[in-house]
């Protein structure tokens, strides 16, 4: 919930205060740095978890099949629905 609030707050400030291009450029650089930090800490929470590392062999392959197929068909369906469902003008 706090995530939605922070996004909406950012949108409100961006919408009502006309921020100049320099501020937005700096914002975009900060964004990249925080994103790297977030991905790093996401990786840490994967590596820190002994259950995942321990059970990797037994559940790893099944999970890999599930994740790759769900992602693959999501991409395929979105691509096809978009291609045949929307007439871009």
């Amino acid at each position: 919930m706090s995530l939605v609030i922070s996004l909406v707050l950012g949108m409100g400030i961006g919408f009502f205060l006309k921020l100049n291009k320099n501020i937005l450029k700096i914002n975009s650089k900060i964004q990249l740095l925080i994103l790297i930090g977030l991905l790093f800490s996401m990786g840490m929470s994967l590596g820190i978890n002994p259950d995942i590392i321990k059970n990797l062999k037994t559940i790893g392959i099944t999970s890999l099949i599930f994740s790759s197929l769900t992602v693959f068909f999501s991409i395929l369906f979105v691509f096809l629905f978009h291609k045949f469902g929307v007439k871009e003008s």
């Binding site: 996004l7 409100g12 400030i13 921020l19 925080i34 990786g43 840490m44 099944t62 599930f66 769900t70």
Partner: protein, 200 residues
């Protein structure tokens, strides 16, 4: 491509650091740090979206695209889940319930831990983490080589938070807004769908 490389290196270094240098008792602090990062990140993405004129333009066209996107993601995810279940020799209700996490790895496993077996919950956990990892890697690639709209497909429920900054960087404000709304709808559906599909 540099961006994708940076992403993969950051996640990989994180895994190594977590495995070799951090004790499991720090897990809670780690989650806290992640959620701080995410809060600041979404504020920063919000600034971008709010500053763009495109964000609030063509609302009805966005609505139509949103409907197409969300229904295609749901159908694609279930199709993939059913095939994966058939390959792994798993009953269709468990297969659909695992797929219905849409990448939200902290919720679906908790529900399945209660109503299903620990093994199914563990598979749901890893499946949905991997979905997020696939999404992080694939979004910039799809945006560059296929089209912006298709890049919104892999994220699932994470499209509204963790993968939104990646969508925002790889596509444009128009698509970021659709991505956010798609993620929000899927996030709302997860608790309902996981329970319902497992009970089939």
């Amino acid at each position: 491509m540099l961006f994708t490389l940076i992403i993969i290196v950051a996640v990989f270094l994180g895994i190594l650091t977590g495995h070799f240098f951090i004790s499991p008792s720090e897990m809670e602090n780690l989650n806290l740090i992640s959620s701080y990062f995410l809060t600041v990140l979404l504020f920063s993405v919000g600034l971008d979206l709010g500053s763009s004129k495109d964000t609030f333009k063509d609302i009805s066209k966005k609505g139509k695209l949103l409907f197409i996107l969300t229904s295609a993601v749901i159908l694609g995810t279930f199709t993939g889940g059913l095939i994966a279940g058939a390959i792994s020799n798993m009953h269709y209700n468990a297969s659909l319930a695992i797929a219905a996490g849409f990448g939200w790895y902290s919720l679906a496993p908790v529900i399945l831990n209660k109503i299903a077996t620990a093994e199914i919950a563990a598979i749901a956990f890893l499946t949905n983490i991997l979905r997020e990892v696939f999404a992080i890697i694939l979004i910039p690639i799809l945006a560059k080589y296929v089209n912006f709209f298709t890049a919104l497909a892999p994220g699932g429920a994470t499209s509204m938070d963790t993968t939104l900054p990646i969508v925002s960087r790889a596509t444009d404000p128009n698509h970021s807004v659709i991505s956010f709304l798609n993620g929000a709808i899927l996030t709302l559906l997860v608790p309902f769908l996981v329970n319902f599909l497992y009970s089939l």
